[in-house]
Amino acid sequence: MGRPRRFESSRVVAAAAVLFDSDGYEGSSMDRLVQVTGVHRGSLYATFGSKRGLFLACLRVAVTSTAPSGSGLLLVALGELASRDEEVRAICAEAIDAWGDQAAHELGRRLLARAGLMKGNE
């Protein structure tokens, strides 16, 4: 398996989540992920399997938390991956289900806020 690397997975996921939130999925390169997590490329691959694996780890944390930043990752997932990735779509569906009837409105509101188009605060 290689020399064991020691890093705290939750810290790495948190750092990666911030980048995915700001730059999007395709927009976040492995170079940048290495930079923001401080973890070697090989270690990221060994731990998460792929950039997608790392994003999924971030998304799962995001949809279980109520922090405002969580919705950013959900919007990235919906916009960039859900249509072509069954697993991502399933995670998004579950998160949206939890909002019930207000889901579309809530998502629209968050998307506008993210775009800086909401009056007042989010």
Binding site: G2, R3, S29, S50, K51, D85, E86
Partner: protein, 121 residues
């Protein structure tokens, strides 16, 4: 350059180096059971990193890397030309831990591989 396909009937990921590279003798057709594939990533920056020790392989820095490299106790298969369209496939086989492959349509290859293995997690 590589042809990367998924043979669903046998549950295998098949990597076939294109003509010229095979003649170098450093690379070969590789078949990996999908159960041993952990993920695929389009990673244009991967070719710029330190690769480790050639074992055996041929490297033309900035241009081409063909063969096996050992790094951090792992064995990596390289068949990369240039750097932009590089797909990194994380595997756990007795022979290799990771494959670095130049392909024509990186996103398509990555999506196909990740979709093929998604159900086994």
């Amino acid at each position: 350059m590589n042809n990367v396909t998924i043979d669903r009937s046998r549950g295998m990921l098949v990597v076939e180096p294109r003509r010229l590279n095979k003649l170098w003798g450093f690379v070969r057709r590789i078949e990996v059971s999908l159960s041993q594939v952990r993920g695929a990533t389009h990673d244009p920056g991967a070719a710029q990193e330190y690769k480790g020790v050639r074992a055996p392989g041929l490297g033309l820095p900035g241009h081409k890397w063909v063969g096996t490299w050992r790094k951090d106790g792992e064995r990596h298969y390289w068949n990369v030309k240039g750097g932009r369209d590089v797909v990194v496939v994380e595997v756990s086989t007795p022979r290799f831990n990771r494959l670095y492959l130049s392909v024509e349509e990186p996103r398509k290859v990555v999506d196909a591989i990740n979709a093929a293995i998604a159900h086994q997690n």
